[in-house]
């Protein structure tokens, strides 16, 4: 078995943060490779610190290594100083587990969870010595797979991958391994890559872009449909595991030797969210709600803390305070015996006093800051986005936070939401001002940080038809906020770079015409675009120009119901008429309640697949408001540039409407 370690150790000393490349984490598996087994390299195309904690990747890593027909190792995008040195020394991308070259693996599987990493996909392929375009690869090259939330519209990068997997990967990676290991055992002469891809395409949840034809006319997409081959579905349906309890992964969460984001024990307590925030793609595509059994949560936490030595645990999901019986779980975790204090964090979408009460139970010691995400400045606009938090919900939550010892409150908002007026935008400052007023009742100098992201409409949401705010419009709103915020003492305003929002917008709802754009941006050195020190909007604008493509066309214009969308042939289970109705309701300021505790709206996510919610409690949690959102995301997250891939709600997105 070939390891590049001997070559690597000669120069790692001269590289920034060499610990990124050494592996050695507690929980690392160094698998035995063998010719009969399908070997996977799971790649997170961002830095090690961002990629290592990714739970999806860790889950598949364990599952694949438990099977007898597959093995898996991991890799992350080398930082620019490293890739420069690797190219100079002719060293390809490698796994961190055994430092094996990427090209020695059968399958390169990328986890794509944010648009701005797309050029890093190209960078990793190039460093692996694998042809960028799927059509240029032959039987000797690895199969390139993409998974993660971005595969609900993989069209911008469709030409670079061999297949995309939609939805939960737990089961489908096994099916892929099975097909691949069988294919591998065939005599050399009979191996045919095209037939292999055809076989993959027959698996539910697998999309093979090269088997579909995209047709354009007058600068508009008119159809995407299977080429002549048989057995290729017209619409690829996502995969959903119906019982999270059957998949208690990761069993051995990786504990890194060096600092990473979310550096704590993470236990996923449920998947899916039906609060129905209309801007939130994660909520829409992961329906229905599937809770992990309470006892399993508690045992995963206990075993995990013991094994890892962490003193902090996060119960993860899109809105953890909604978990049935969350109070029980929290008190069980907090009253564990052990010799050191354990702190617990609960990313939650709710904004209410109940949640703060739970938070105070969880953070007995480190009461530094609390974060809430009202997302919009006025009740009217919150109805439009279906985040049904009243001003009073927010003030009640803030009051209980300040009264229980928190001094710093952070508020997250989006600007550029549909129907937004300047009054809505300025409502953000009004809410912050009132928050500070409440804070002064309890502290001398309370502080409020307001973070503002620009809204990017996402596929498979009711806002997928909405024309994103232009760069100028977003900037105008930011200045509006900045001027108003200056007059408020104790208020700190932070905003997301509106130029990055523009690029996210292009890619979010883009189509195959963007392949050469991505290639050009990458060629000009446009990697790590989610990092502010590397982001360069000019590369994108120049490349779009050169390809004769208009940002207006991709981002700023509203779509009509009859327009063919680039992801129409891919399904997250959501009926298009449900989404369209929800879009119309949004424009009428109509909210929609959570279907977990009210009758089903037949969105399709359960009804289409013959599954249902797995929720232990038939009623909303005690003390709950109607509230759709609050984020208790902890203060200690590392601030990385523009976007945090693991951010729970659409904070890294942005937009404008007129």
């Amino acid at each position: 078995m070939s390891s590049l370690w001997v070559e690597l150790e000669q120069f790692l000393n001269e590289i920034e943060k060499p610990a990124r490349y050494i592996g050695g984490e507690d929980g690392m598996i160094c698998p035995e490779h063998s010719p009969e087994k399908a070997s996977w390299l799971l790649i997170y195309p961002d830095t090690y610190e961002i990629g290592l904690p990714n739970q999806g990747l860790q889950i598949l890593y364990e599952i694949l290594n438990e099977r007898d027909d597959s093995v898996a190792e991991r890799s992350y995008a080398p930082w620019v100083d490293m890739s420069r040195e690797m190219r100079k020394r002719n060293i390809p991308l490698f796994s961190v587990d055994t430092h094996r070259p990427a090209e020695d693996f059968d399958i390169l599987a990328f986890n794509l969870s944010a648009e701005l990493v797309y050029t890093n996909l190209l960078e990793c392929l190039d460093l692996s010595n694998v042809p960028l375009y799927s059509k240029d690869r032959n039987e000797g090259h690895p199969i390139v797979i993409a998974g993660g939330h971005c595969t609900y519209n993989p069209e911008p990068f469709a030409d670079f991958i061999d297949l995309a997997v939609l939805g939960d990967g737990e089961e489908v990676v096994g099916e892929i391994s099975e097909i691949f290991s069988q294919w591998k055992s065939e005599p050399q002469a009979e191996m045919n890559r095209k037939e292999l891809l055809q076989k993959f395409a027959e698996l539910p949840g697998v999309y093979v872009p090269s088997l579909y034809e995209a047709t354009f006319s007058n600068g508009r997409l008119v159809s995407i449909s299977p080429k002549a081959e048989k057995n290729i579905p017209n619409i690829v349906e996502k995969r959903t595991i119906s019982d999270l309890g059957a998949w208690p992964y990761p069993k051995n969460q990786l504990v890194p030797l060096t600092e990473v984001v979310h550096d704590r024990l993470n236990v996923e307590i449920f998947r899916g969210c039906t609060r129905g925030c209309r801007f939130c793609q994660a909520g829409m595509i992961t329906r229905p709600v599937r809770e992990r059994p309470q006892e399993q949560v508690v045992s995963m936490v206990k075993k995990g803390l013991e094994r890892t030595g962490y003193d902090e645990v996060s119960l993860t999901s899109l809105s953890s305070a909604d978990f049935s019986g969350i109070e029980n779980v929290v008190s069980e975790v907090m009253t564990q015996d052990g010799c050191s204090p354990v702190s617990l964090s609960l990313p939650s979408l709710r904004v209410d006093a109940f949640t703060v009460g739970t938070a105070s139970q969880m953070q007995q010691a480190r009461r530094t800051g609390l974060t809430f995400a009202p997302e919009a400045g006025t009740w009217r606009l919150r109805q439009v986005i279906n985040k049904l938090i009243s001003d009073d919900d927010l003030f009640g939550a803030v009051e209980s936070a300040y009264s229980q010892g928190w001094r710093r409150v952070k508020l997250y908002f989006l600007i550029g939401l549909p129907t937004e007026t300047d009054d809505d935008t300025l409502g953000i400052v009004r809410l912050a001002e009132k928050t500070l007023e409440i804070g002064r009742k309890y502290h001398k100098n309370p502080s409020v940080t307001v973070s503002v992201g620009g809204f990017v409409p996402k596929p498979d949401t009711p806002f997928q038809w909405f024309g994103q705010n232009t760069e100028e419009e977003l900037l105008r709103k930011i200045y509006l906020l900045r001027d108003a915020a200056k007059k408020v003492k104790g208020l700190k305003l932070k905003w997301h770079d509106s130029r990055a929002t523009v690029v996210e917008g292009i890619l979010s709802r883009g189509d195959r015409r963007l392949a050469p754009v991505l290639e050009k941006v990458w060629k000009m050195g446009g990697v790590f675009q989610e990092w502010s020190e590397h982001f360069n909007v000019d590369l994108w604008k120049t490349s779009m120009d050169e390809e004769g493509l208009l940002i207006e066309d991709f981002s700023y214009r509203h779509r009509e119901l009859d327009e063919v969308l680039p992801w129409d042939h891919l399904s997250a289970g959501l009926h298009k008429d449900f989404l369209w109705q929800d879009w119309r309701d949004a424009l009428d300021n109509l909210g929609l309640e959570d279907c977990r505790w009210t009758p089903c709206y037949d969105c399709g996510a359960c009804t289409g697949y013959g599954i249902e919610h797995v929720v232990a409690s038939a009623v909303p949690p005690a003390g709950g408001s109607q509230g759709t959102g609050v984020s208790l995301i902890q203060e200690n997250e590392i601030k990385v540039a523009i976007s945090q891939p693991e951010k729970v709600n659409g904070l890294q997105v942005s937009g404008v409407n007129e």
Partner: protein, 239 residues
């Protein structure tokens, strides 16, 4: 109050992690090993542990130290050094191994302040036995050696000759030599790599291994915890 002093290694791939990473690993490992570390009081309590002189990232070591502050009740309970060592070893990642363990009263200087010199083993290439002998002799026959060091953005020229306590060739290789050198750490740490670069810019260091950290006791330099004394019963170490 007493503390548990542990001498451990940092060898192999793990040499590329930084000092803060090592501290985090110790915090987790002590919890895994169920050692009841004292916590600081206050707003954000943290475990009370302290280290010897920081080791530059990329250097290996057989002489890293950590002092772990423990409540008195820990010593009342049956204190079994062997079991503690075993538990800590199990909790530490590969490349970090416990070499010796002992109990000390906590007093005066922290180890970081007390360390006065380090012994380094350095694998040097780009030279030969004969050539290095000449370099070495020249160094010891001169009474000054100035080195440029950056401190708070300013370049300072300092004489470090007296910090070079000893330097000997221990092995001869086709492309160079292995040396053993004792370098003083006061007033400021002198790194073997900086020293070698200064005395001959052609020299390349391939591997740097810290063999010892020494503290001054009277006019003798001693190891805070010697491996030879291990495994020693706690009482003996205390004496």
């Amino acid at each position: 109050m007493r503390c548990l002093r542990v001498r451990y290694t940092k060898l192999g791939k793990i040499r590329f992690i930084g000092h803060r990473d090592v501290a985090r690993i110790w915090e987790r490992s002590l919890r895994k090993a169920n050692i009841p570390v004292l916590y600081s009081q206050g707003f954000s309590p943290h475990p009370r542990i302290s280290f010897g002189l920081a080791l530059p990232t990329g250097f290996e070591s057989e002489a890293e130290y950590v002092d772990v502050y423990l409540g008195e009740d820990f010593f009342l309970d049956a204190f079994d050094e062997k079991i503690i060592q075993e538990n800590i070893n199990k909790a530490l990642p590969s490349g970090m191994d416990v070499l010796a363990i002992g109990i000390f009263p906590t007093s005066g200087d922290s180890l970081q302040e007390a360390v006065d010199a380090c012994v380094w083993e350095v694998r040097v290439s780009g030279t030969s036995f004969e050539e290095f002998e000449v370099i070495r002799k020249k160094l010891f026959s001169s009474d000054s050696l100035s080195i440029e060091r950056e401190r708070k953005g300013k370049i300072l020229v300092e004489d470090v000759r007296s910090q070079v306590h000893s330097m000997d060739i221990t092995e001869d290789h086709i492309d160079g030599v292995t040396i053993l050198t004792e370098l003083g750490t006061k007033p400021r740490v002198l790194r073997p790599t900086d020293l070698l670069k200064r005395i001959n810019s052609e020299l390349r260091t391939i591997r740097v291994l810290r063999k010892e950290q020494l503290t001054l006791q009277g006019n003798q330099r001693i190891e805070p915890l010697s491996i030879e004394l291990h495994p020693a019963a706690p009482a003996e170490v205390l004496a």
